[in-house]
Homo-oligomer: 137 residues x 4
Amino acid sequence: MKPFRHEIRVPFYDIDLMRVVWHGHYVKYFEEARCAFFESLGMSYLDMEKAGFLLPVVSLEIKYIRPAVFRQRIGVDVAPDPDFENLLKLRYTVVDIETGEKLCKGVTRQAAVDRETRSLRFLLPGPFVRRLREAIR
Amino acid sequence: MKPFRHEIRVPFYDIDLMRVVWHGHYVKYFEEARCAFFESLGMSYLDMEKAGFLLPVVSLEIKYIRPAVFRQRIGVDVAPDPDFENLLKLRYTVVDIETGEKLCKGVTRQAAVDRETRSLRFLLPGPFVRRLREAIR
Amino acid sequence: MKPFRHEIRVPFYDIDLMRVVWHGHYVKYFEEARCAFFESLGMSYLDMEKAGFLLPVVSLEIKYIRPAVFRQRIGVDVAPDPDFENLLKLRYTVVDIETGEKLCKGVTRQAAVDRETRSLRFLLPGPFVRRLREAIR
Amino acid sequence: MKPFRHEIRVPFYDIDLMRVVWHGHYVKYFEEARCAFFESLGMSYLDMEKAGFLLPVVSLEIKYIRPAVFRQRIGVDVAPDPDFENLLKLRYTVVDIETGEKLCKGVTRQAAVDRETRSLRFLLPGPFVRRLREAIR
């Protein structure tokens, strides 16, 4: 499977005192890419809400390789891990769009919880899993 | 009435490429001060929700005088305008705590809306108005 | 002059407890549109730095008409005020891209300051003014 | 060593559509706690800059246990890992101040880089290391 790519132009307000993207903003970039990826599968956050479940992030890892700078055009590549019965694991790679140089790598894990009770669901909803599987193949 | 003061230590992640607080972050500082002020009157956002109304900001004005810098200790003074029948108008002054120097001034206007319907209420809820009036006197 | 339009898809992380865009985030939307507008004139923030000046925002006004919601496609229209000798005044209108409905209006004023000394320049740099004038015509 | 504790009152603008703190904001909470911890050792970010080095975050891990909510009083406990020759590793635990309940855990690794060249320094600056060692003992 080719990863899903989401493109971002680094905005001024994300740049910090060291003249690079503040390290916490990559969490936003991952989320934007993840939302766009889910939408490309026909499953937006609002669809999930309607289907009665939420997918909160339960863990996050980021490795910073090279800082992004103001106005840089970056691509956030997202790919689901094949094994996702009860936790959805997504891998992210942030690259410079022109040079392909890697800037940052990340992983998020998400658990399905019931929208009302917030209690854990042991399996991700079937239709969502099917679409993810199709995306991986 | 002496204005209500909320103190903030400028965090690293609020500093921009010009090495000063990014101008949009003052909206957060105003909100923090406003929430603390409402709480000091015994009326938090969550109390308002329970009472069935919300107070969205309908207009905002900021004049920037002197930029705040990293780790600066600033005070955000909030004072309600005496005339607040259907719109609540609050004035803000941001100062350096040590020197008293003015950094920024602002105004927000908030309208009461019904929590469920989001339709405008023409009057602010009575108990809230009484506490504000007492705060002004 | 037709205003310059910058398009934004409202991200998840901009949505607040009231399920709409938090009012402070429009400052980011204005800035993104302004940066894109300046770039369309061949004058990015980094070009300004190199030319030895900065354009900090000295005042900001926002009127909120209708809240934007998650995943809404919005357009931020920017247009400079014809009169800009010593302060650059830009007007913003945020609209729903599909319906054209107005969501929010704003104004920013920016002063030119010397990059090193941070002292006020009484006139905006000539080439920048010329490009703006051409954009207005 | 008792960990250093930094206290935060969860602000309105950090709450998301699920009515809890948006997961990315914990990166800010970690940073606030880290800055306060460094300052308690007499080494602020600005001191580091003057001493010619920077300490960018090179990796970040977060495990989310229980979501923080609006106005909750939370404590962010920071403790350095004893082994920090070339990478500084800090561990964070976010707790509810009243109940002591764990909300979130995290780790950051920071590398010392030369301020001007941004090239890696293989050792952290001596005085900084000494103060950290004293803090650990």
